[in-house]
Symmetry: C2
Subunit: 293 residues, 2 copies
Amino acid sequence: VIGVDWGTSSFRAYRMTEAGQIIARASASSGILQVKAGEFPNALCAAVGDWLADGETKILLSGMVGSRQGWVEAPYLPSPADPAAIGAALIRIPFDDADILLIPGLSDRDEAGTPEVMRGEETQIIGALNAIDLSGLVCLPGSHSKWARVTDGRIASFRTYFSGEAFAALRTGTILGRMMDDAPPDDAVFARGVARSADGAHLLHQLFGVRSLALFGELGTRQTASYLSGLLIGHEVRAALQADGTVHLIGAAPLCALYADAIAICGGIARVIDEDAAARGLARIGRVAPWAA
Amino acid sequence: VIGVDWGTSSFRAYRMTEAGQIIARASASSGILQVKAGEFPNALCAAVGDWLADGETKILLSGMVGSRQGWVEAPYLPSPADPAAIGAALIRIPFDDADILLIPGLSDRDEAGTPEVMRGEETQIIGALNAIDLSGLVCLPGSHSKWARVTDGRIASFRTYFSGEAFAALRTGTILGRMMDDAPPDDAVFARGVARSADGAHLLHQLFGVRSLALFGELGTRQTASYLSGLLIGHEVRAALQADGTVHLIGAAPLCALYADAIAICGGIARVIDEDAAARGLARIGRVAPWAA
């Protein structure tokens, strides 16, 4: 079986045994924003055509490839959802050279009734079920960080935080960015930003403090970005952390390391899950998928 | 006496009697960012040269003209400060054709020890002292909104909120802006955003909701900007509102109207002060200024 984690700006494919052992990997720069409408079959063949020629017949896709800007728009499956429910909701995509199934994203509603959505993260969470003993709080940091509550092997509910994209916009588009060098992350200054997030003042006030600290020389231009990052991630972690205190992190190692630091400062315990969660999730859902005979 | 409110992007001059009656007004597009170093005397003469030729000899400046990017950098005067303290801290600027005095900005420290600064707003607040009966909470909305506590005719303390610049950056630099039309403000949708700010979820989570509501068709592209504005201003007002509930607003009429709506929704009482507060503040400080004989 071939599993593909096809996101907005990335394409990662895995050739796997039925049991989920990874035989080969392929990655490409053909994230869905780089692929024109109608060109998705070609983009897929360019990346995994060799494996098809070698006899593979099943392809499972997850991620933003199932969005309005992707190959086929898959309706969201409402949470709670477990691997069986996701397997029963797969969408078949007509394709000449293999049987292609698409994993739908999940939806939810927050306490205020506002919609929640994810595409791709559900597959990573399914891939982490063993690592989290089937229940726990999972965080997938990113532009739009997802925090999911997993209960008895199901994705029970989830919430999104806009911190990553807010950080980028504040850095690029405000006076705060004019005081920032492209310096490497500074752990101590990041921790200072996380600590600031706990002082009871509102984030919109604390953001101005990033400027005033720099203006008074109390924060250097090489420190400002790390401080802002700590401030935003600190707010996110404090808002999302739950009573049991343990957070399972899935994502790129450097970002997970920042979140792990922030979680520890906020009194939680972080466990970082290895980066193959997506492949394991694809294999797991693939085992319950209704493949053509 | 000539009073000038000289900001980052605006220049407003008033020719006044000693008692503060406005005889003539002048405005120019020569905000300090439009004036090159060394060109401040020329920019001033271009705007008020006629009044000097007509016999005026005293000029009082306030605003960002006293910043590092302005004509002369004036050290901040620490708050609390009253008109007499500000009058005693004026900076004389060498100039051939008149006696020029510059009003310093004010500084403060918030509860966490983070610096606070204002330049120009102190003059507007001084100009509003009569309207607020010498004590009260004053809000000057803008890119960096200022909320000042005035006690017994002194500016006792103040806090800045970054909401205006955050709104602009989120609108210009994130996926939220891609779902926004340039529609006129929608009061009902603005109120919906303000109400959302009270539901207990974190702002960083609620920001993603702006996208998901649009994605589900529960917020139209002509509504998204008003909703985001209400969400941010709602957060600011709830954080800054104090027990007595009354807020005196100084600023441009359309922005004050939005803040007045948000304050009312949040259970406060808004009083909008007329737009000549800067002129009255310049006149008030001018009366205690140490003019050359």
